[in-house]
């Protein structure tokens, strides 16, 4: 299942909390698409994926947002 997490505008607690929350509610094989505006999300999502054993499929910068696509490989 693909799930969109719109975290645009969140500075505190920030997009990483929304990603963790989506992860909790996900299953192996799910795709999480995270939208954020906080630049810190790029490094955070990478560190998070590495630590949790999940995979970043795509990370791109659009004019109004950063889009990160993650596949859940581990739960």
């Amino acid at each position: 299942m693909e799930k969109l997490v719109d975290s645009r505008g969140s500075a505190c607690p920030g997009p990483i909390t929304d990603l963790s929350k989506a992860y909790r509610n996900s299953q192996v094989g799910d795709i999480i698409v995270l939208w954020a505006t906080d630049q810190g999300v790029k490094a955070d999502a990478q560190a998070w994926a590495k630590r949790t054993g999940n995979e970043i499929l795509e990370m791109k910068e659009e004019p109004d947002k950063i889009v990160i696509k993650i596949r859940i490989n581990k739960r």
């Binding site: 500075a11 505190c12 607690p13 963790s20 630049q39 630590r51």
Partner: protein, 402 residues
């Protein structure tokens, strides 16, 4: 007169009710409790044993002319504009505001309810905060694990405030050298917002508190006194201090407006429940991309009061969370949708401000402090503060909708 129904007499619900023109609107507040509690003080109950009275009857916090009903709302039908209470009482409305805050749910983490019942916690209610003070008072040294059981909780600084106040207490009691404190968090660092973390992490280090990042609590093994994370790590404990998972509302909606954790999906500028012009979700219960705090609930309530009364307004995502760092110092977490968190240095003055808030809180609910707040919010405008303090922070992409 148009009927305004406010479900929840917490910070958001009360400020909203007191901001409406009572000559124009027939206002009813429904709450399942008779008393309103000043939740930030749970910290001082749990870690300092404070006995200060922190509740007032909701009926006394409302301006004359506003009706208060003690009842639990069970179900809401947004299409037919009706809310359903206990004993089949029906509340019809023209405008509804759901401001029911969050509810703790320890049962979703195996083993946690036992800790919730035996050790207590400092987020759920006054009784559990007192229970935690008892556990802290009777602690004689050993391993303390301290953290939150879900990625989302109200008042993001409060877990760190708690651990810093606990460290101060143990130090004063002479138990510090006999105690190892580990702060666990699902985030990559102690404080989720990077600029504030630059202040927080050195402070935790200085006070000898270990940080365990990427620790998303999965279960509590009460038999072997261990907590385990989804990521596969384990920590041993003698005293576990754990904020239970924070969920949205249990109210049943006939329409699909809640996310999987029970938070209500609402517009981040107007707080309107998605798809409805006459229904709003204010405060902790909504899913806005901002912190769940009393200040946020306050600002959202002001915007909604204007919108109901036909005055154009828009919530900016402004947050302003007081952050007690122990030993008489504090700071504030300040940001909005457009500006990142300010790296705002702690000071004694800011601690004094946090403590003063506890005194003027009751006046704030009635709107008597509005001019002071207007001045303060402009004085601490996130854009200006960012220019002054955030030297290393990159600018954010715009978050305006296209």
């Amino acid at each position: 007169m148009e009927k305004v129904l406010i479900v929840g007499g917490g910070a958001g619900g009360l400020i909203l009710a007191n901001s409406l023109d009572l000559d124009q609107y027939d206002v009813t507040v429904v709450d399942k409790e008779a008393e309103h509690y000043y939740q930030p003080w749970y910290l001082y109950v749990a870690f300092k044993g404070s006995k200060r009275k922190i509740s007032r009857p909701i009926s006394k916090l409302l301006k004359p002319g506003i009706r208060f009903v003690r009842d639990t709302i069970k179900e809401i039908d947004l299409d037919n504009k009706k809310a359903y209470g206990s004993y089949e009482v029906i509340y019809p409305y023209d405008h509804i505001i759901v401001a029911t805050g969050t509810s703790p749910d320890p049962n979703v983490i195996p083993g946690l309810s036992q800790i919730y019942n035996q050790v207590g916690d400092f987020h759920s209610n006054l009784q559990n905060s007192r229970k935690l003070w008892n556990s802290v008072k009777n602690f004689k040294g050993g391993n303390i694990v301290f953290g939150m059981a879900s990625p989302v909780c109200k008042c993001p600084p409060s877990p760190i405030e708690g651990v810093l106040l606990l460290e101060e207490y143990l130090n004063k009691k002479g138990l510090r050298s006999k105690t190892k404190i580990t702060y666990f968090t699902p985030y990559p660092r102690a404080y989720p917002a990077e600029p504030m973390n630059r202040i927080v992490e050195p402070m935790l280090k200085e006070r000898g508190i270990e940080v365990m990042p990427f620790f998303d609590l999965d279960m509590v093994d009460t038999e072997n006194r261990k907590i385990k994370s989804i990521e596969g790590d384990e920590l041993n404990y003698d005293l576990p201090i754990i904020i239970p998972p924070c969920k949205g509302t249990k109210i049943k909606f006939r329409q699909d407006v809640k996310d999987e954790d029970g938070f209500i999906k609402a517009d981040k500028y107007t707080m309107r429940i998605k798809g409805y012009d006459d229904a709003y979700a204010v405060g902790d219960v909504n899913n806005l991309p901002t912190s769940k705090t009393g200040v946020t609930a306050h600002l959202e309530a002001k915007v909604v009061a204007n919108l109901i009364q036909g005055i154009y307004d828009k919530f900016t995502g402004r947050i302003n969370c007081p952050f007690d760092m122990g030993y008489g110092k504090a700071t504030f977490v300040i940001a909005d949708y457009e500006n990142p968190v300010v790296e705002y240095p702690p000071s004694r003055t800011k601690h004094f401000m946090k403590m003063s808030m506890a005194r003027i809180y009751w006046l704030t609910l009635k709107g008597y402090m509005d001019p002071v707040f207007d001045f303060y919010f402009e004085f601490t405008n996130p854009r200006k503060l960012n220019e002054k303090y955030n030297k290393t922070n990159p600018p954010k992409a715009s978050s305006q909708p296209q």
